[in-house]
């Protein structure tokens, strides 16, 4: 029971981690990408046009770099951004002022998340070399800062560097790919304007060579998750199977217990205890068994999640057990306790005292 609740808790944590980006997304942030696909870039020139649209407060942009550190097994997210506007739009990414200052003024500078830095034992000033996949070649960066999350759910495993560095290099090596960005990040003045501003942006680039699709950051994140929906559904199904197994085990235990105790229930009934008392006894026992398993399972979910998080930090940069998971654990344990006790209670109440007493001896 304990292990099943532990497994359920971990799987629910995986699912909530999957949706973490969605939960973290800000209502005042929009993302504009190429209408065909995220794979296709957008011209840099769109930035000024977007900035002039009513309701837009700030614009930044980024490009997925997809570089490899050492080999493919050492994956971490790495992308090029315009540092100053990016950090203005994403205040949850916190960099000490002195490091930020150096990062802004050194085009080969990069900042990395705390977890990533700790994992590889990097120090400020280290040269980090990434092997380009989308942008071939060896790319050297100087680590000039370590960012931390404003709250515990911020991904601290990303690697961020100057888009300008990428662009200048491309101008020399692949001029056709220069002056293009992967997506625009837009801060709007009022979350209520999200739909209108999105429409205005997309309208501005209608019938151009690179039409845009603007959506809220939440929708953008959800579209990413939609790509992996099958995995999420599979995990959800497994978690439901675990609930079913817990239910079957508790129901079986309660059924056996009630069968063994039918004589005792008959004694209680003989002494004048009614159906309500008998139900209370059986439901109480069912609840006790389930809550015991659930409590131990919940308690162990935290250290297990920490181990899980360390082992799979590449895939799950943030792996925290959320209150929702705990509430779900508790809810499931109540549901299981209730369902498991229904049949034994019905049986104990229905049995004639004389028949129950005959089972003793």
């Amino acid at each position: 029971m304990l292990l099943r609740f532990l497994a359920f808790g971990l799987l629910r944590t995986v699912i909530s981690t999957w949706y973490l980006g969605v939960e973290q997304s800000s209502a005042t942030r929009l993302v504009t990408r190429n209408a065909i696909s995220l794979v296709f870039p957008l011209p840099l020139s769109y930035k000024e046009k977007i900035r002039q649209i009513e309701g837009v407060k700030n614009v930044s942009y980024g490009t997925w770099f997809g570089g490899i550190y050492i080999d493919e097994k050492h994956f971490f997210a790495n992308y090029a951004v315009e540092p100053s506007t990016y950090l203005e739009i994403y205040p949850e990414i916190v960099i000490p002022d002195d490091e930020k200052e150096i990062f802004f003024h050194n085009r080969k500078a990069a900042v990395a998340g705390r977890i990533l830095v700790e994992k590889y034992g990097w120090n400020i000033g280290d040269i980090i070399t990434l092997k380009g996949t989308i942008y071939p070649g060896k790319w050297d960066f100087v680590l000039q800062g370590v960012y931390t999350g404003r709250d515990e759910n911020v991904d601290e495993t990303a690697f961020i560097f100057h888009w300008a560095y990428l662009n200048e290099t491309l101008k020399q090596t692949a001029p056709g790919r220069a002056d293009k960005v992967g997506w625009y990040m837009i801060e709007i003045t009022n979350p209520d304007l999200a739909a209108d501003v999105s429409l205005r942006i997309d309208k501005s680039f209608k019938n151009s060579l690179a039409e845009t699709l603007t959506e809220t950051e939440k929708s953008f994140m959800l579209s990413f998750i939609a790509m992996t929906e099958a995995i999420v559904i599979a995990i959800q199904l497994v978690s439901f199977v675990i609930i079913f197994i817990i239910m079957a085990v508790v129901a079986n235990t309660m059924s056996m217990t009630a069968r063994e105790r039918i004589g005792e229930y008959a004694i209680f009934k003989t002494l004048g205890f009614g159906g309500l008392h008998i139900s209370g006894l059986i439901f109480g026992e069912s609840l006790f068994i389930t809550m015991l398993g659930a409590t131990l399972g919940i308690v162990l979910t935290f250290p297990a999640a920490k181990i899980f998080s360390k082992a799979l930090s590449i895939y799950f940069p943030v792996f925290n057990v959320t209150p929702d998971t705990i509430y779900m654990d508790i809810g499931v344990s109540f549901l299981v306790a209730f369902v498991a006790a229904v049949f034994p209670t019905w049986r104990a109440i229905q049995i004639r005292i004389a028949d129950g007493l005959r089972r003793i001896g």
Partner: protein, 233 residues
């Protein structure tokens, strides 16, 4: 003869059991009066219906027809819930296999029926100690049934049966699982309950020595009664 008013009045009682499509008559037109402070023994061969009759009097089974009045209340007209409440206040049970709850101490087992009475904890404690004193087991109140001998367990069961000061005590083969000495102790205790405390006891037994303690022996055979007063009473 005992001239006291009947505390149990049974009239034209019928009871049968269904076994598949077959209906087996167990009690056939039983009429019987049991007076207050009477010690009555029900005897008869296995399957004669004596336990069934005891269960009907104690309100743990339902008759097909007829009436059973205990202390003036016709229990055949009561609902299951009303019967449960009635049993809690009016009937004390003593079974062959003691039927104590193994995870509760002697004190807690005796206290069980009192939990339905609304007495305070202090009052319950006093009642339990009194009942355990009656059966001479006050010093074993913290023992679990598993730590007591068969005779002691049966005495705890008797304490549980009398703790609510019920109208009647019903005992189904209370000595059936005891050695001779323990059986004698239990029977002596039951005699004392009748003589000293004025309790009404209905005893089902196969044991002629146990029946001998009763004022009246009723023989049941194939669902029909045959009363026989004790000559030495």
């Amino acid at each position: 003869m005992n001239e006291k008013a009947p505390i149990v009045e049974i009239r034209n009682l019928y009871k049968s059991y269904k076994r598949g499509i077959q209906i087996l008559p167990v009690l056939n037109d039983i009429s019987l009066d049991i007076k207050e402070s009477e010690f009555l023994a029900l005897m008869g061969p296995s399957g004669s219906g004596k336990t069934t009759l005891l269960n009907l009097i104690a309100g743990i089974d339902k008759a097909d027809n007829g009436s059973i009045k205990v202390g003036g209340v016709d229990i055949t007209t009561l609902s299951e819930t009303e019967l449960a409440r009635w049993r809690a206040l009016n009937v004390g049970f003593v079974f062959q296999f003691y039927n104590l709850i193994p995870v509760l101490t002697a004190f807690e087992n005796v206290e069980l029926p009192l939990l339905l009475t609304g007495l305070s904890k202090k009052e319950r404690h006093e009642h339990v100690v009194t009942a355990l004193n009656v059966v001479n087991l006050a010093d074993r109140m913290d023992h679990y049934p598993g730590q007591l001998s068969g005779g002691e367990q049966q005495r705890v069961a008797i304490a549980r049966a009398i703790v609510t000061d019920p109208t009647i005590l019903v005992a189904d083969e209370p000595t059936g699982d005891l050695d001779r000495q323990s059986a004698n102790d239990v029977l002596e205790l039951m005699e004392n309950l009748v003589h000293k405390l004025g309790k009404t006891i209905i005893l089902v037994t196969h044991d002629p020595r146990a029946a001998k303690k009763a004022h009246l022996i009723i023989h049941l055979d194939k669902g029909v009664l045959n009363a026989r007063p004790q000559t030495d009473y």
